[in-house]
């Protein structure tokens, strides 16, 4: 039957058996042509995945931006505050009291902006009242904390005066019976101003109110306290020693000063003093934030899954619609693998486009919100890079089943289906 020699037949066979192949560039072009043949449908297809990735990117970016913002805002105060107090001394040992000249000793250190001493005054449960008369049936005397402050303390806690003035060195030296009220204490006592020489009584002692505070940035207990000069507390209530030293430092000086202040105050017994600066509440904030973050990430993931189903659905419909085209491609020499690869590439491209758009929109959202809040946008550089990758993988997974269906089609049936 075979009239050719064996060698001739072999040569022919070898050439004739070469499988068909597809240039990579053609594969890309065919996939793109397939997608862009119906631009409207392409937009609708990528919408779901795009929204999902936008949500993911925006959530990650915004939570990062917000937490960076909260921490940096808090830092400014926390990083410039030191509080020194004495530890209780053991039985039979010398006390760890702070010296009366604590402020002078600290002020000499480099990096100190302001320093003051603050002590709680023991007034034997005496009540504070604004009126010398006791009205029956109406409570006009209150138990209020009495604090003794050195004049410079008000600077150290960044106190703002609503009305009147703050006590000075003279009041303290003379032991004058003057007081400054925190805004809450003033309200409780019913004192609005100092123009009429308002006075209060602490137990039996009468004090002249010379000022009312508006607010403080540190030691918020002062807001509901009655503050008297340190000298007055010493002379009239037997204050033994200042209880705490409040220091405002320059930015960045805290860690160095924390090591120096104990030695400056008590070179003889530095370890008897407790030097603290406020705990940075970062972990707490992060905890609160991560709950919200998880919620939004889950929303993003759900939307991503919905988007993937959308891509799978549309790709499947496209396969069914393009059965005739698939048959034609098979007739022109496409293998099953060529068909599957083209459809996979189409869905992966849809995913990639969704990812790029989602990442861009997400970043725009972060920048927009940050601009509105006058925050600095902060984002992990991996996020905008990973988003298109996730989109691409999503598209690839979504296109798997439709591509398989397309590859399994018998060219005969596919051609019979028409275009």
């Amino acid at each position: 039957m075979d009239t050719r020699t064996r060698e001739e037949a072999d040569v022919l066979t070898e050439e004739a058996l070469q499988p068909s192949r597809m240039w990579f560039r053609d594969l890309i072009l065919e996939a793109f042509a397939g997608i862009f043949a119906r631009p409207g449908r392409m937009v609708m297809t990528i919408l779901g995945t795009m929204i999902g990735l936008t949500a993911l990117v925006a959530t990650l970016g915004l939570s990062r931006t917000a937490s960076a913002q909260i921490i940096s805002r808090f830092d400014e105060l926390a990083a410039t505050e030191i509080t020194v107090s004495s530890r209780p001394a053991g039985e039979g040992k010398p006390t760890n009291e702070l010296p009366w000249d604590a402020s002078e000793r600290i002020r000499r250190l480099n990096g100190v902006v302001a320093v003051g001493t603050l002590s709680a005054v023991d007034v034997d449960d005496a009540l504070v009242s604004a009126s010398p008369f006791v009205e029956p049936g109406r409570n006009s005397a209150f138990k209020l904390p009495i604090e003794a402050a050195s004049p410079e303390l008000f600077t150290a806690v960044r106190a703002r005066v609503r009305t009147g003035r703050l006590p000075d060195e003279g009041h303290s030296e003379r032991g004058d019976k003057v007081a400054v009220l925190g805004p809450n204490a003033a309200e409780q006592l019913g004192i609005n101003g100092v123009a009429h020489l308002e006075s209060i009584s602490i137990g039996d002692e009468v004090f002249l109110v010379i000022g009312i505070l508006d607010g403080v940035e540190r030691k918020h207990t002062l807001l509901s306290s009655v503050i008297i000069p340190e000298g007055t507390a010493r002379a009239r209530y037997g204050l033994q020693a200042p209880q705490s030293v409040i220091i405002e430092t320059e930015v960045g000086a805290t860690s160095l000063l924390k090591r120096q202040v104990a030695l400056a105050l008590r070179p003889d017994a530095p370890y008897g003093l407790k030097v603290t600066s406020p705990q940075q509440p970062q972990p707490v904030r992060a905890g609160v934030q991560s709950d919200l973050e998880v919620l939004f990430l889950m929303l993003g993931a759900v939307s991503l899954i919905v988007g993937a189903i959308g891509i799978a659905n549309v790709t499947l419909v496209a396969v069914m619609e393009r059965i005739g085209e698939i048959g034609l491609r098979r007739a022109l020499g496409a293998t099953r693998r060529h068909i599957a690869t083209q459809f996979l590439l189409e869905s992966a491209t849809l995913g990639l486009v969704s990812g790029v758009l989602g990442a861009s929109l997400g970043m725009l959202l972060v920048v927009g919100v940050a601009a509105y809040q006058t925050w600095t946008p902060v984002m992990d550089p991996l996020v905008p890079v990973l988003a298109p990758l996730i989109g691409c993988v999503t598209g690839l997974l979504a296109g798997f089943y439709p591509a398989l269906r397309a590859a399994r089609l018998e060219p005969v049936d596919a051609l019979r289906a028409g275009m």
């Binding site: 004739a16 499988p19 005739g324 007739a331 022109l332 020499g333 693998r337 060529h338 275009m419």
Partner: protein
């Protein structure tokens, strides 16, 4: 005498597993190089199945099919795809043009799965279009062409890879008589240049154009 380009020996094709439908049984057919053979039969006679087997789109369930002396049954899917891209040209009743691509791009599609370099593809497609008389329609979309012109585009696409065998499935089935005549004259010209042509049709008037006619009924050939 040279070996026939198509050689079918007792070819049968059965569809389905449970209640099998016999589409072809014991078909013997030889087509020589340069022949123009028409397979005539009513719808359901098995003629499309026969063409699909000859075009390597389908495999026989029994018998053997040798294309250019080579047993096709033993080839893998990619190898048969390679045969389709190089050696066989198809034209269909429904044209099968991609609606959203220009005429030229439709013709260029034929080379996507071939082994030729990409360079020169546009020129080769353009030349093929010129050969079927549509050199001035390259940028048109298929929807802007008449039925006869669309089938000419399909013929250009089938010819661009230089096939040895042209398979025509009811090439004039969707055309009016004037366009049909134009297409048949074009095919006659290709035959005159030496191309082997197999055409299936239900229309005896169309089959009369061919060199040799074979009738198929109920899956069996009658000389």
């Amino acid at each position: 005498m040279a070996e026939p380009i198509v050689s079918l020996f007792e070819v049968g094709r059965t569809f389905g597993d449970g209640a099998p439908v016999v589409a072809l049984s014991e078909v013997d057919l030889e087509v020589d190089v340069g022949e123009w053979v028409a397979v005539v039969g009513a719808s359901g006679s098995g003629k499309t199945t026969l063409l699909n087997i000859i075009g390597c789109l389908d495999r026989p369930t029994s018998g053997s099919y040798r294309l250019e002396g080579m047993d096709v049954a033993g080839l893998s899917d990619p190898q048969r795809a390679g045969l389709r891209s190089r050696d066989i040209g198809f034209i269909f009743q429904a044209f099968h043009l991609l609606a959203y691509r220009t005429v030229l791009e439709n013709v260029m599609l034929a080379e996507v799965y071939g082994r030729r370099p990409r360079a020169g593809r546009r020129d080769r497609a353009s030349a093929a279009l010129g050969a079927v008389g549509l050199g001035d329609r390259e940028g048109f979309l298929p929807t802007q062409l008449s039925g006869g012109q669309r089938q000419r585009v399909a013929i250009a696409r089938a010819l661009v890879n230089g096939p040895r065998l042209l398979l025509c499935d009811e090439p004039t089935g969707n055309l009016d008589s004037v366009s049909a005549r134009g297409i048949l004259e074009l095919i006659r010209g290709l035959h005159a240049e030496g191309l082997t042509i197999m055409m299936i049709t239900h229309d005896p008037g169309v089959a009369a154009w061919a060199q040799r006619q074979v009738t198929i009924a109920d899956g069996r050939l009658r000389g």
